[in-house]
Amino acid sequence: MSGRAPPFLATAWLIARKDLTIEFRTRSAFFSALVFALLAVAVFRFSWDPTAVAAIDLAPGVLWVIFTFSGLLGLHRSFGVEEADRAMDGLLAAPIGREALFAGKAAANLVFVGAVQLVTIPAVSLFYDLPLVDGLPALAMIAALATVGLVAVGTLFSAMTANTRLAELLLPMLALPFFVPIVVPAAQATARVLAGRPLAEVAAWLKLLAAFDIVFVTACTLVFPYTLEE
């Protein structure tokens, strides 16, 4: 009989569903990232002097620092789960497209990082007493656009570093410089939204984020197959 390659979207969905099932059962990475995020919110809150810096000026930076580092925790797990018992060999021995594998991994990471953000944003709002209701749709849009870029870059570097002895160190070292072009416009746009500025004022930042998303998603998808070569 022998097999054949399933279509791109079917493969991506298969990989993403498998990763999310494993994460749902173990919950190890999600809880690690969540606990880290909430602790970071608390630490920033208690080390903050409200008389020196306004909450509205501090919160965007806090939010994106937390998103970046908590995201890294999940991204590290993405290919780490494939290293135990060399499950990665099982994936690579299958006739699936490497690009579809990347898409599936990135989709699962997107859900993971998004889930952490869903809890972190209200926590920041609560700790810094920031009313978010009006700006929530805009903030969600910024978070979604920025997360796509962060996840694309993070998934690529997670694959590159997964089977190295210093994966925990190498992943942030390699990924963080590439996160800068995403985090800067995301923090700038978030600051304006939290300040109650109209959406039109952040449109330029959103376009910049979308442009970086296109560049990073395309580049990472194309480069990914080469990271799997021995």
Partner: protein, 250 residues
């Protein structure tokens, strides 16, 4: 089956049967070191090449090249009639069994095998998974998470995973590692079935008894070279074992 060694002294006469695996001068270098150095071999449908050799002889590297996991530095090969250059098509025809389980500990045995079936676009993957688990006599533990299975049972699930798409070519890297008597018998039966159904097999093992029992051809790799190749019917087991020990000893 045709088996051809790089060394003309070890070459076997060719037969008209079309080879499911044909490798010609395969080389794989890691930096300056050649893990596999000019290996030529052919295995026809329904036959099993048992490949022996000490650690670091290049057996696993050869297997990984034939599985489409490693790109050869030089040389060419066709697996299941497809050139290694078309790696996805090669991978669709190959089942890989390793001494690593290649399984996800958090998923059940059935989920692991069904996941593999879907990776190969097997019709009705759940039924195929259950059938593969039954074949390896582990269907009664189908819904147990793999992390709760013993090493031997994990290996049986791993073998079911590799065979779920009924591959034309099966590459086995130390598959008996960790198997108990029942598991070893199930694997031996499965290998017999695969041969009977026309699959070509390459079995890498350190265990001479297993290799001699299952191989229709026997090969020895040392230092990246295929230094001995013979049809099983042409050699006496005890003589081959003595030759092997002499070759490995240098």
């Amino acid at each position: 089956m045709t088996a051809v060694a790089a060394n003309p002294d070890t070459a076997l006469p060719t037969t008209p049967a079309p080879a499911a695996i044909e490798a010609e001068g395969l080389v794989r270098a890691f930096g300056p070191r050649r893990a596999v150095d000019g290996v030529s071999v052919a295995v026809a449908a329904g036959e099993c090449l048992a490949l022996f050799g000490p650690n670091g002889a290049g057996k696993t590297t050869l297997l990984r090249m034939l599985a489409g996991l490693l790109r050869p530095t030089r040389g060419a090969a066709r697996v299941g009639g497809v050139s290694l250059r078309d790696a996805p098509a090669v991978r669709a025809r190959v089942g890989l069994i390793s001494h690593h389980s290649l399984l996800y500990a958090a998923l059940t045995a059935r989920e692991n095998v069904a996941f593999a079936a879907r990776l190969y676009d097997v019709p009705d993957p759940d039924a195929a998974a259950l059938a593969a688990l039954e074949r390896m006599r582990v269907a009664d533990r189908a819904d147990t998470p793999v992390r709760r299975l013993s090493r031997g049972l994990q290996q049986r699930v791993s073998i079911a995973r590799a065979m779920v798409h009924a591959p034309d070519v099966v590459l086995l890297d130390e598959p008996f590692t960790g198997l108990d008597e029942v598991g070893a018998r199930a694997l031996t039966d499965a290998i017999g079935d695969l041969k009977a159904h026309g699959a070509a097999l390459v079995l890498v093992t350190h265990n001479l008894v297993e290799g001699l029992a299952l191989g229709t051809h026997l090969g020895v790799m040392v230092g990246g070279h295929l230094v001995r190749l013979a049809a099983r019917g042409d050699v006496d087991g005890a003589t081959f074992a003595a030759e092997y020990r002499a070759l490995v000893a240098g």
